[in-house]
């Protein structure tokens, strides 16, 4: 291929060119404006980096890599290239580095990318634990330390937990509902390719003048409006992660509403589909608020507005209200898809229908609604109007009711099952117990007087890691192991999987359990240094944290070697009923040669002869039988 052709065809060459061109364009705009106003110095690197590198260049990269080609042709009235599906599927590893509209390829792209950022965030946690192993300053200065925990949290939230669920659902969900792909494949690709932008911004903020953003992932104003340049990398990085998240959520909503296979009514959807449906509602409604809060910060920083400057009539608490109006629902965005995974894993491995299926779905909806009414429980000590604390305490505690329904229903699903303790099941059971602990400390935190004492302490750090690691990340591991055979066509190593579970389960508790103690005892969070009386516990926590970090290597080794050399997976190694297991592993390029017809619920274990879906070629036999026939409501479409 000639260089010209390389630079005009979608791909990495054009992406580099596009990035460079757009950076120059952004720089040009800055210089032109500064010249026009006669501002000195002309070359203001803060402005150039903001406009050129953080706003303009990412669009150059997206255009260059080819996310917009089809839409541009179409918008310009040029003949669009007819979809020949040549972009579907991946034949070599290189195909994962191209814009691809196949939901299965995008799913893998999401999962691998997000695990890369998970490793980055995890390594930062290791550095923090090294620094905190003893009082005083050993390895990093306070500024770097503040940067480390800020970037750690931002990566884990915006680049790992939220998008890895989108990745798993991207792969599994269309197969589960019997759809050939997502509703908007090109939008799906764009969602994925926006994600690395956010991650790269957050990582490169360490090289910005003044260091990485160091205001926590919460970026409270007015600290965030006064800190050095690194903050812009967060403020703008979040926009790309948020836009990616919103686009994916819209895609899931439309896919779930319009593309279910014939016969799949809402009450026949697997609970993972329900979970992603409710999560997507949360994302679409809530995410614009975090975008807004960060735009306010950006405008205060770059354009001299006064949203958070009380001396000019600004309101500092407004930031926290807007921020938490997203960021509390965000914890459910990070949890509901995991609930869905657990329902699949437990019912498959206990060989039983999910207990109280409809209540499981209703409780997801209840959490969505209640989730929007509790945000100010993050602000009990913020100085907001005092009366709001009591209603927020009550609504927060009420969320325990639907969450309790889910926990108890999973327990009841275990009862009189035939339990196969495979790795995903171990993670699911580990999740139930650890998430219960996280939920219990959540109830404690909802009680205002106790929260006043422990808010902003290590008790909070313990709580969020119990719900986000013992909760979300355990469900992610469960999901990755559960669908690994489907995604890769190979089996993972069960022994290594179990080893991974037990190591992470034990050291997770050894790391985060003691944090409850030091928190109540008075150790604030987000500190590079602490009073000597906490030294013993912190040393123990650090040692456990290193072993906990090392347990991840077992997972990584298992995944890499099993993907390359693992034994070939059968279509349905777990004998599950849902549709994704009725096609080969990995599935055919277009998922189904025949669109399946859904004839029953997804978890009919224990009912002889019950099936969830049938394929057309088998249909004549099934149609005669009562299972396939008269009782089935007409297709939802």
């Amino acid at each position: 291929m000639t260089l010209t052709k390389k630079l005009t065809a979608p791909g990495w060459y054009r992406a580099i060119l596009g990035t460079a061109l757009m950076f120059c364009l952004g720089t040009g705009i800055v210089l032109a404006v500064r010249t026009a106003y006669g501002w000195d110095p002309l070359w203001d690197w803060n402005a150039i980096i903001t406009v050129g590198a953080l706003v303009a260049a990412p669009f150059g990269y997206l255009i260059g890599i080819g996310c917009f080609d089809y839409w541009f042709y179409w918008a310009a009235g040029n003949p669009t290239r007819p979809e020949d599906h040549s972009g579907h599927g991946a034949t070599s590893w290189k195909d994962y580095f191209r814009v691809n509209t196949d939901h299965k390829v995008i799913g893998i792209q999401y999962i691998v990318t997000t695990f890369f950022f998970f490793v980055c965030g995890g390594l930062m946690a290791m550095v923090m634990r090294a620094e905190l192993a003893q009082p005083g300053t050993q390895f990093v200065n306070p500024n770097t330390f503040n940067g480390l925990f800020s970037v750690h949290a931002s990566l884990m939230i915006f680049l790992f937990i939220i998008p890895v669920f989108a990745g798993i659902a991207n792969y599994v969900l269309p197969l589960m509902i019997g759809a050939p792909d997502m509703a908007f494949p090109r939008l799906n690709a764009l969602s994925f390719w926006m994600l690395p932008i956010a991650g790269v911004m957050m990582l490169t903020s360490f090289f910005a003048e003044g260091g990485a953003f160091a205001t926590g992932w919460t970026a409270y104003a007015p600290l965030s409006t006064e800190t050095p340049m690194g903050q812009q990398f967060f403020t703008l990085g979040v926009q790309f992660a948020g836009a990616s998240s919103i686009a994916t959520a819209l895609n899931f909503l439309v896919t779930i509403i319009t593309m279910r296979a014939p016969g799949m009514t809402f009450w026949r959807m697997p609970l993972l589909v329900w979970a992603n449906f409710t999560t997507s509602l949360l994302v679409v409604i809530a995410t614009p608020f975090v975008a807004g809060s960060q735009f306010f910060v950006l405008l205060d920083r770059s354009l001299g507005t006064h949203f958070f400057d009380p001396s000019a009539g600004g309101d500092v608490l407004m930031y926290q209200h807007v921020f938490w109006f997203y960021s509390h629902p965000a914890v459910y965005i990070m949890m509901l898809p995991g609930f869905g995974i657990i329902s699949e894993v437990i019912s498959t491995n206990a060989r039983k229908p999910v207990f109280g299926y409809r209540m499981m779905a209703f409780s997801l909806v209840a959490i969505v609604i209640l989730g929007f009414t509790v945000w100010a429980h993050h602000m009990f000590v913020s100085g907001m109007f005092p009366w709001l604390r009591v209603p927020m305490m009550i609504t927060t505690m009420m969320i325990a009711v639907p969450t309790g329904i889910k926990i108890f229903s999973w327990l009841a699903t275990l009862w009189r099952g035939v339990i196969h303790l495979r790795t995903p099941m171990l993670f699911a059971l580990g999740f139930i117990t650890m998430f219960t602990l996280g939920g219990i400390s959540g109830i404690m935190l909802a009680v205002v007087p106790f929260d006043i004492h422990v808010s902003d302490t290590y008790f909070i750090v313990a709580h969020i890691h119990y719900v986000l690691f013992g909760g979300s990340v355990f469900t992610i591991f469960a999901g990755i192991y559960h669908w690994f055979p489907k995604m890769t066509g190979r089996m993972y190593d069960e022994t290594l999987g179990k080893l991974h579970f037990w190591l992470s389960f034990v050291f997770f508790n050894a790391t985060f359990g003691p944090m409850h103690l030091v928190g109540i005892d008075g150790m604030p969070r987000r500190v590079a240094d602490y009073a000597d009386k906490y030294a013993t516990w912190n040393a123990i926590i650090s040692i456990s944290a290193f072993l906990f970090g090392a347990s991840f290597l077992v997972f990584l080794y298992n995944m890499v070697t099993s993907w390359r050399h693992g034994p070939k997976a059968p279509a349905n190694p777990w004998r599950a009923h849902s549709i994704e297991w009725q096609v080969s592993s990995p599935p055919p390029i277009f998922n189904f040669d025949e669109i399946p017809t859904v004839v029953g619920g997804p978890y009919e274990y224990g009912t002889p002869g019950a099936v969830h879906a049938v394929f057309k070629e088998k249909a004549p036999a099934a149609a005669g039988a009562p299972a396939g026939g008269g009782g089935a409501p007409p297709p939802a479409e």
């Binding site: 306070p142 503040n146 160091a214 926590g216 409270y220 600290l223 800190t227 026949r268 009380p310 500092v316 608490l317 206990a350 060989r351 039983k352 229908p353 109280g356 409809r358 209540m359 000590v381 913020s382 100085g383 505690m397 009420m398 009711v401 309790g404 329904i405 108890f408 229903s409 327990l411 009841a412 275990l414 009189r416 099952g417 303790l421 059971l429 139930i432 117990t433 219960t436 219990i440 109830i443 009680v447 007087p449 106790f450 006043i452 004492h453 902003d456 302490t457 103690l517 109540i520 005892d521 604030p524 500190v527 240094d529 009073a531 009919e604 274990y605 224990g606 019950a610 009562p626 008269g630």
Partner: protein, 267 residues
């Protein structure tokens, strides 16, 4: 079984409901009773264990006792829930674990309305009771006290300063008389800070543009620390200063001494 029946999530399948039909728990006359017994014993042991832990720093204010009691109540309510979850998980794994090569399915139980009503109602009542209790404690902690001394607290990156308008004194260490109710009026010169004395249990953000208030009655002599609990920048972790709770007579001496030094430096 026809389609409609299988689709309706909550109808239990009658014959499988009888536990006697499951050989794995057939020998046990009361599998649930046994589990409840184990659960009660484990809960009692658990509650005793968690109450033995010395969680909090010393109690140096009248409110501290109430908050610590509230926490004990929360622990007592929480332990049985955790034990319940653990016992069901462990019992199920032990009793219902598949033997190698076991290809059977579990019992086709789709739900049980009575059970579901129970586990909606009990948690609902529990959290309602705890919320009311929490509200009562909160009101108690924040009730206005007679003879309050006002202390103005000002945060800045990265130190605290204190002013006693009634006593016409300023200071960089916080000195408080024992048993005298104090109303802290908290403010900041720059970014958010958070005024917290762990031994008093109460904290409040210092917010630009606002004055926040908390009420504390110190009731234990000693030296403690004011800790900044809201990330405020580079020096956040070092923003700790001394608090001394002293006998009222000693406090009066300290006030006079402060005034004298202030006049000296002014004159």
């Amino acid at each position: 079984m026809n389609e409609r029946e299988r689709d309706s999530g909550n109808e239990p399948v009658a014959p499988a409901e009888d536990p006697q039909s499951d050989p794995r728990i057939q020998g046990e006359r009361h599998p649930l009773g046994k589990m409840i017994l184990i659960g009660v014993v484990a809960s009692v042991i658990g509650v005793i264990a968690v109450l033995q832990i010395d969680w909090f720093p010393v109690q140096a204010s009248t409110g501290a006792h109430e908050i610590d009691t509230l926490y004990d109540v929360l622990l007592i309510a929480s332990v049985p829930i955790f034990v319940l979850v653990m016992s069901v998980v462990i019992y199920s794994v032990v009793k219902f674990r598949a033997k190698p090569g076991d290809m059977r399915d579990g019992a086709p139980i789709h739900g049980n309305t009575r059970l579901e009503v129970i586990w909606v109602t009990i948690p609902f009542l529990m959290v309602t009771a705890l919320a009311i209790y929490g509200w009562v404690v909160l009101d108690d902690l924040e009730a206005k006290q007679p003879n309050e001394m006002v202390v103005k607290v000002t945060g800045r990156q990265f130190s605290w300063s204190f002013a006693y308008p009634g006593e016409r004194v300023r200071s960089t260490t916080l000195v408080l008389p024992k048993d005298r109710p104090v109303e802290f009026r908290i403010n900041t010169r720059d970014v958010l800070h958070d005024f917290w004395v762990p031994e008093f249990r109460l904290k409040s953000d210092a917010v630009p543009g606002l004055t926040t208030k908390i009420r504390v009655t110190p009731n234990r002599l000693g030296k403690y620390e004011v800790v900044c609990a809201e990330l405020c920048g580079l020096g956040h972790s070092t923003m700790r200063q001394d608090v001394r709770v002293v006998e009222p007579a000693l406090f009066d001496t300290w006030v006079r001494h402060q005034r004298a030094t202030a006049q000296e430096s002014a004159g």
